[in-house]
Symmetry: C2
Subunit: 373 residues, 2 copies
């Protein structure tokens, strides 16, 4: 069991990482918090897999009837929208939920973002806990209080910074995660490795086929990433100093790629993995990198794309155009690049021809590996 | 010109009160803030009356084209909802508004609440200024950062605490305010008088027919109220210690009365005026008040109801039932009562028969005055 502290102006709170946290830490904390009622926000699929265990733990914690109330909504980034949010408000109102109660966000990134925003705005803010159930949300979106919903064509366009009372990364929930989802999450783990932590990269490289085996310490890897995320968020909660922006390594390319492939084709982590390879290539092409980065990136990241199910067909011009669209909206086109491993910098004003070549070279490499048309 | 400071965890900022603030303080501040663009959120009616003057001031301030972009929505509490909010998000996105820009909430309470919430949640929060144009919003809702929208049957059920960079109470905008709206705002002024400030009550009592004449110092009265509001909000931004709850004097009765009469029949300030008379009567009936309060309340408040246009027909049982509905939702039924003038206390658990009598006695008094069926 690891406990990591996040310290922000919006609140200081622990991130717990381990096995069986619901029965122990969560149950104990709810005994202490003594909310009038508990509202569970989740997807039906997650609730079916792990809801029984959680409800039993809540029973123990409240000395009462478990979750008084459950709001379930369908899976998919497409449901992280104002419609679902409105349904959530209406459901909470109908159940008479007040600021004496507590909300539990129980699921992956979509649940955490939507439920956290629901908590931040219902009755001007009620308390909530993050219970991430995917590797991606445990190491990234579940920590740091960025919550919100998408607008058509604009991810996370509506939201706020609203910190939970605590985060519980119960590794037991990862057992049911499909291999592709786990690999996608490991791409975010690799991101922390490239940015800050050579040890994480050595662990990933040691796992055959990119996935941890029964004896491997996945909890330790999650705790390591949570530590990096907690440190960055504590230093730059509101994304103002540039520190938190470094966590977007691979994301400028990745978002454009997700959009060009059509949402749903690529997992977010897969897009970020390809994006980081493009960023490494860009660092080489511009002479910013002091040594060969692409090879080091490929060694860690290609196994995470490689179970055979991935085959993308992005329109190269559209990838470039999508990045320009972001720029036209008034956002500056910024890249996180590595000078060398674990030496990231935020860079603006890169000539477009280098960006184009980085995209071309990386897609060509994927083509040769049979992952891309 | 008066300048009052608000100091909260969510930000410290000035409230300016005076004549011609747009041309001077606002223009000067925008020169200093240098936003990339200015978004004006308002009602068509307010924009028609005062938009020209404001736009000219923005021109001077930005050294640019005035408001780059205007989002107007129809008047009425019924439009302070998720639909209008969504239209607002879409309009901001379409215009490419980013966190470099600034939003101006230009209107009464409905505009301030909706525009402030838009600012608090668009792109996880952009900067905004409050430019209240009604007496009610200058002395109350425009100060303190409570922003949000209504849900069906639940006022302000969705919202947040989000402080503006500054508030500009330009008294010149009150010239176009109808007499009934001005009187409604003066009921909130009287509230500060009963709670904290005998001097305010003496000023109100000195105005013939309840309204200020050409030589009367309305700016001084607004500044006095803004000072009280700023002090309370600075002490209890998030409504936790009970201090901010005192500002609900007359509101428990008032909200039930608004609901029982049908929204729109009574101005908010009128409902609060009647509510304060009920609260004064309740304090007497329970023996909580040390002297006769009702007579003192009537002397100040009756002129504010009395231009002849008000005639209500509330179902007395429904007023009582509406208060019980609030209670059933898990909120405790609390009353702000005066021990004597300027000595408020927050009281729970008052026997229902006293509440019933306070409602009955006050409605009977209004009946005798010809204001109620």
């Amino acid at each position: 069991m690891a406990e990591i502290q996040v310290r922000t102006a919006g609140g200081a709170y622990p991130v717990h990482v381990g096995h069986g946290l619901y029965e122990e830490e969560l149950a104990r904390d709810l005994m202490r918090i003594r909310p009038a009622r508990v509202v569970l926000v989740s997807h039906p699929s997650i609730f079916e897999l792990h809801g029984g265990r959680l409800s039993a733990a809540l029973d123990a914690g409240k000395g009462g009837p478990g979750a008084a109330f459950t709001f379930l909504f369908p899976e998919g980034e497409g449901n992280k929208d104002l419609r679902t949010l409105e349904e959530g408000y209406l459901a909470l109102l109908k159940s008479g939920i007040t600021r004496e109660d507590i909300l539990l966000a129980f699921g992956g990134g979509v649940v955490g973002d939507l439920a956290g925003f629901l908590a931040s705005t219902y009755m001007r803010g009620i308390r909530y806990l993050q219970l991430p159930t995917t590797l991606m949300s445990m190491v990234d979106s579940g920590i740091g209080g960025k919550v919100g919903v998408d607008m058509p064509g604009a991810k996370n366009a509506v939201g706020s910074f609203y910190q939970p009372l605590a985060v519980y990364c119960d590794i037991a929930t990862l057992i049911t995660l499909p291999g592709r989802e786990l690999r996608s999450g490991l791409a975010e783990v690799a991101k922390y490795g490239f940015l800050y932590d050579a040890g994480l990269l050595r662990i990933l490289e040691g796992w055959p086929g990119g996935l941890p085996g029964p004896g491997d310490d996945l909890a330790g890897v999650v705790a390591g990433c949570a530590g990096h995320k907690a440190r960055v968020v504590s230093a730059d909660e509101r994304d103002l100093s540039g520190e938190r922006a470094l966590l977007n390594y691979g994301h400028t390319f990745g978002h454009a790629l997700e959009s060009a492939c059509g949402y749903g084709e690529l997992r977010h982590g897969e897009a970020v993995a390809v994006g980081m390879m493009m960023a490494a290539r860009l660092a080489e092409l511009t002479g910013f990198a002091r040594r060969d980065l692409s090879e080091q990136h490929r060694r860690v990241l290609m196994p995470l794309l490689g179970d055979g199910s991935l085959h993308i067909d992005p329109d190269q011009d559209r990838v470039l155009a999508d990045m320009q669209t972001d720029k036209k909206k008034g956002e500056r086109l910024r890249f996180v690049l590595l000078e060398e491993m674990q030496a990231p910098r935020l860079i603006e004003e890169i000539p477009e021809r280098f960006v184009k070549s980085a995209v071309e070279d990386t897609l060509e490499m994927l083509r040769r590996a049979g992952l891309c048309n």
